[in-house]
Amino acid sequence: MLSRIISCGLHGIDGYIVEVESYISGGLPDFDIVGLADAAVRESKERVRAAIKNSGFEFARRRITVNLAPANMRKEGSIYDLSIALAILAATGQVSLPATAGMVFLGELSLDGGIRKIDGALSMALCAKSTGQRGILLPAQNSGEAAVVKGIDVYGAASLIEVIDFLNGDLCLEPCAGICDFDMLQKDNDAAGSPKPDFSDVKGQNGVKRALEIAASGSHNCLMIGPPGSGKSMLAGRLPGILPDMTFEEALEVTKIYSISGLLPSNIPLITQRPFRSPHHSVTQAGLIGGGKYPKPGEISLAHNGVLFLDEVTEYGGSLLETLRQPLEEGKVHIARLNATLTFPASVTLICAANPCRCGNRFEKNKKCTCTPGQLRDYMNRLSGPLLDRIDIHIEAASVVYDDLSGQGMAESSAVIRKRVNRARKIQTLRYYGTGIYSNSQLTPSMLDKYCRPCLKGEKLLKRAFDKLGLSARAYGRILKVSRTIADMDDCEEIQAAHIAEAIQYRTLDRRAI
């Protein structure tokens, strides 16, 4: 009268094994679920009862107790429906209990006995594998996603009857075939996705394009300042097209986050393109860095390994931007709640865009800026020093001149730029192999000496530039990192004076202002 089925729960982006125990005893008919279950789990009583009956099985009219162990962790969601149903059926002898050994069962039941899609299948499949389970059975729509995990049998099922027949040996289910070739999948996904906007759509603005190429190559945080209509948002929107390819490990991390957030489309088992997120400036703190009663990843985590684009960055609430400081530094977000502290990955390339001033005409050649010095100062003060500290590249965009717009000359396409970006990124991956970092932007101060030694001429230039332009000390490390990336794009092991010179050009906000 006792049965035990293995299932899985989610804690942050990782899964943990949950044992679903069911005990059926005499007494008044009753159905109880214990083990810190939330409302959605407790409601599963009704779904389980209906699904079992509608699948043609008997729902025991006895006292049923279901325990979700470990009983001290809070369980949420509807993923335990299937395992609860199986535990009850096994306890009443309608399902062969030995057949369930070593298998993880996940899935939400519908009243007619169908199995519905769940969130976080990938994380739970990874958990099943790491804890040495034999196989995992989950909704058919999630099977592709879970099959990414190698070394464990993944079965997809569409209804409760299928599962029961399979366990009783009346039906033969084939394990899902995982993806064989990551590169192939990447190409397929590239081709399948809707066509992305291309860099060649943007006429002119070669300076900004170059800066974005550097940002993509070295994963540098970047701030674009320019008048309205200078194409900041347009250029940022085309950034995903030139971001370097993801490695399999990176793709797994990204997919896990999307999977637990329920944002993974069922036809894409693995996300192979770097994410690009651009939350509106009315986003809340929980929406940006993550949160909620059962903490969910925020925009910064959804942009993990990709780009977080904050358009009109001066319009975001001051404290909102400050909350980005720690994640930008660490590449992780820690969310503390009453019952647990969760950590979500949040290693992003931050791209910000802002107007140069309140009226927006500051860099315009033919329009007059009407801002007072006080307004100018207040406007720029909306970006705090510590936040600017974390931004490597400042780029000023001017309005596009008519000649550029009407010009027939073809601008470079994203594909061409992306090839260069990929090459530069490969150099970095090789150089930093085994050091725990993978791009120039992540270099620590102690690593600067080792990897970013400029040539003699470059060093002299840097010193002169500091004296002449009154650059702040914090600019030093940033300039070296960016010049490292520029040198990599040039396929140069040593940083040359020209690389330093270009890098200094991207520190406009550090210059002494009068």
């Binding site: 070669n206 300076g207 860099f363 010095p373 002169r464 050009q505």
Partner: protein
């Protein structure tokens, strides 16, 4: 430690200037009658009424104890902030200032006023100055200061700050006249500049400590700027700029007025251009100012200038700025190194400038051009153009303006060489 004067007399002076409704003119009349503020206080209601200078209302203010109590507090604040007071009867009170119509009864000072009769020139202008105004103020103040002139201005944003910075840059002396108490820094972002001026020159105000920068204070402050100086250079001023008030004061006080000409389409030059049409001296360099005073340089000054001229001939001209740069009286050695630097640049322009740099330089010529345009126009990759332009910027050949616009740096003096 407080001096005897601070203990005994100063509170009475502060009391006198803190009285509402009693301005410098009336106060001076009373001092003329009673000799010291202390005696005014001691004269009592009777004595004051007998003097026949003041009316009934003012009599009430003068005999009220509240103001006297506050005056003692002011002495404490001054002591705390290191502010000194210079009273109008003091022999070191600036001579030129004492002669104006309503000289401040008490000058509050942080720093040191130069005791000699050095030439003081005010460099003033708009707070919303353009790049041109900032640059002109800086260059003119630099050259004047290196010729030993004291630069006087108002620590405001824009032209004023640029003038102070220019003077400090070459180690010159500069005074900032404030429109608020000296315990307040206004505008706040000039705090560092304020400290530097206080340590190397002087910050001056006629307002009691704690006075906030009210807009009505500034026109009053302007009369001190012009009063302290022998001439006023207006660098950039819109039609209603406060700098024009300074110019008016200067005219009333019989001081020279100079104006830096500007673009006829620029709003910020409307005031200065009008000043010129009204007879102010057109000022394109420090020499124009010094000329007006028949400026007789001392021995060192002349020799440095001559040396500069010689070198200029050899190198086929390095522009005017350079000579003025060499006109520094105080440290000839520094002037030498300065001119050496410019020489370097000049020689580079002539012989060593790379083909690309020359190309870029010619392309920009007298326009303000965006980086993208320069790169396209010269057939260079954007990164190469950016790197080259930066090197040129470091050598002082070009200047970068906000928004990645570039223009040729005229004050470098290499323009003639190229053309």
């Amino acid at each position: 430690m407080k001096t005897d004067f601070e203990q005994e007399e100063l509170p009475y002076w502060l009391w006198l200037v803190s009285l509402p409704g009693i301005g410098p003119v009336k106060a001076l009349q009373m001092i003329g009658f009673f000799e010291t503020p202390r005696r005014i206080w001691e004269a009592g209601r009777r004595g004051l009424a007998d003097a026949g200078i003041i009316n009934e209302d003012e009599l009430n203010t003068l005999t009220s104890v509240t103001y006297m109590e506050k005056a003692y507090k002011h002495v404490e604040t001054m002591h705390k902030h290191g502010i000194r007071a210079l009273t109008v009867n003091n022999s070191s009170y600036p001579f030129g200032l004492r002669r104006i119509k309503a000289p401040p009864i008490v000058l509050f000072i942080k720093g040191r006023l130069s005791s000699g009769a050095g030439l003081g020139i005010a460099v003033v202008g708009s707070r919303k100055a353009t790049d041109y105004g900032i640059k002109a103020a800086g260059v003119i103040a630099e050259s004047l200061a290196s010729a030993g002139v004291i630069i006087i201005s108002g620590l405001a944003r824009g032209v004023d700050s640029a003038a102070h910075r220019g003077a400090l840059e070459v180690g010159g002396k500069t005074y900032a006249v404030m429109g608020c108490g000296l315990d307040i820094v206004y505008p706040a972002e000039n705090k560092e500049l304020y400290e530097e001026i206080a340590s190397k020159g002087a910050v001056i105000s006629e307002f009691l400590p704690g006075t906030i920068p009210q807009s009505c204070n500034f026109p009053m402050r302007n009369r001190i700027i012009s009063g302290l100086s022998s001439g006023v250079v207006v660098v950039e001023a819109g039609r209603k700029s406060g700098a024009l008030i300074t110019a008016d004061h200067a005219l009333e006080q019989g001081k020279e007025v100079f104006a830096v000409p500007g673009n006829i389409f620029s709003k910020m030059s409307e005031g200065t251009n009008r000043l010129i049409s009204q007879g102010a001296k057109l000022t394109a360099s420090a020499a124009d100012v010094l000329d007006e005073f028949g400026m007789t340089y001392d021995a060192t000054g002349i020799s440095v200038i001559k040396a500069g001229n010689d070198r200029e001939d050899k190198n086929a001209g390095c522009g005017e700025e350079y000579i003025e740069g060499g006109g520094e009286a105080g440290s000839a050695a520094e002037a030498e190194s300065r001119s050496g630097l410019l020489n370097d640049a000049a020689i580079r322009c002539k012989s060593n400038m790379e083909t690309d740099e020359y190309l870029l330089y010619r392309f920009i010529s007298d326009k303000t051009v965006h980086l993208d345009e320069i790169a396209a126009g010269c057939g260079l990759e954007i990164q190469d153009a950016a790197a080259k332009l930066f090197l040129m910027e470091i050598s002082g050949l070009v200047e970068q303006l906000p928004g990645r616009f570039y223009k040729v740096n005229k004050s470098c003096g290499c323009v003639q060489l190229i053309n």
